[in-house]
Subunit: 185 residues, 2 copies
């Protein structure tokens, strides 16, 4: 029940997808997640429920689809002067966004979907952000840890803690960054 990727910009399919996504975002903003249903979304989006069922299969897939969209980074990591500072700033903001109520729900939505496709995409976004920081650092002549090492030692602990009940604070995030940066050189 995967959603087509190749939608002509102005086609009907694209319009339906846009209005459904919009309806989901608005409903999630104004009510509890447990109360959001497909008939409700359909009514708000101006389509029939069967359209949504046929395109997305079920609510979880649709929510995952919307969530991964919202998890896509909308800007490149800020330049804080050094690779370590860049990574610290990025990780701190990442941890804060992801541990917020909406952030947690989006991660859960992405993971709850049957197909792991969206989860992959989500991790890929993160990896690209880190690769960007790494490239910039190396262009400055700095040594910078491998992207995999950062994923393992910074991103994974942050997400693990968020998912399994803990909220990582700034101090802990700084520690994670310090460790990976120090052991790389």
């Amino acid at each position: 029940m995967a959603v087509k990727e190749n939608l002509r910009p102005g086609g009907r399919s694209a319009r339906v997808q846009a209005s459904v996504h919009k309806a989901v975002r608005e409903l999630l903003a104004e009510m509890n997640r447990a109360e959001v249903t497909i008939p409700l979304i359909a009514a708000k989006a101006g389509v029939t429920p069967s359209t949504i069922y046929r395109r997305w299969g079920d609510l979880q897939e649709l929510l995952a689809d919307v969530a991964v969209e919202r998890l896509r980074p909308d800007m490149q990591p800020i330049d804080a002067g050094s690779g370590k500072a860049d990574l610290e700033a990025w990780a701190d903001q990442y941890a804060e966004e992801m541990s917020s109520g909406p952030g947690r729900e989006m991660i859960r939505d992405v993971l709850a979907a049957q197909t792991g496709e969206n989860a992959c995409k989500c991790a890929e976004y993160t990896r690209q952000q880190i690769a960007f920081i790494a490239d910039r650092a190396r262009a400055r002549g700095e040594i910078f840890p491998d992207v995999d090492a950062v994923m393992d030692q910074v991103v994974a602990p942050i997400i693990y803690r968020i998912l399994f009940g803990d909220v990582p604070d700034s101090a802990r995030v700084r520690d994670l960054v310090a460790r990976v940066v120090n052991t790389s050189g």
Copy 2:
């Protein structure tokens, strides 16, 4: 819709819970997860659907309840002679179990539930296993990293990779263990 913890061993509630759990395990073993429904579980367990709805709320909560039960470690970590060897053996088995099809599904079930309660419990099980290994190592006079360090640098990367589409192999797990053990002393 949390399930009561204090059930008298032979009480009716305990019997219903046991038969429902059993029905879920059997159904998950013999059919696709998407096809498992509450009415089906109820029929197999010999109870009415409304009983399940009232006790667990929805399918996700019930699945999470069953999954966390199955994720509880049934034995203590094997003694491989040293802390590092113990941790390697444990992590390798852990990664293998969790990245298997059923393992992945159980993690996802636990995380998909609305209440993070089950996820916490799950992380707590893991933490206890690691604490056991750490205590045993220290009782031998070894130095051993902090439990938090192991959670961050070994468990979190393993789970992150499983959740976000990658499958960690033995070599990588060994690397993770080597790193945390080496940087601790």
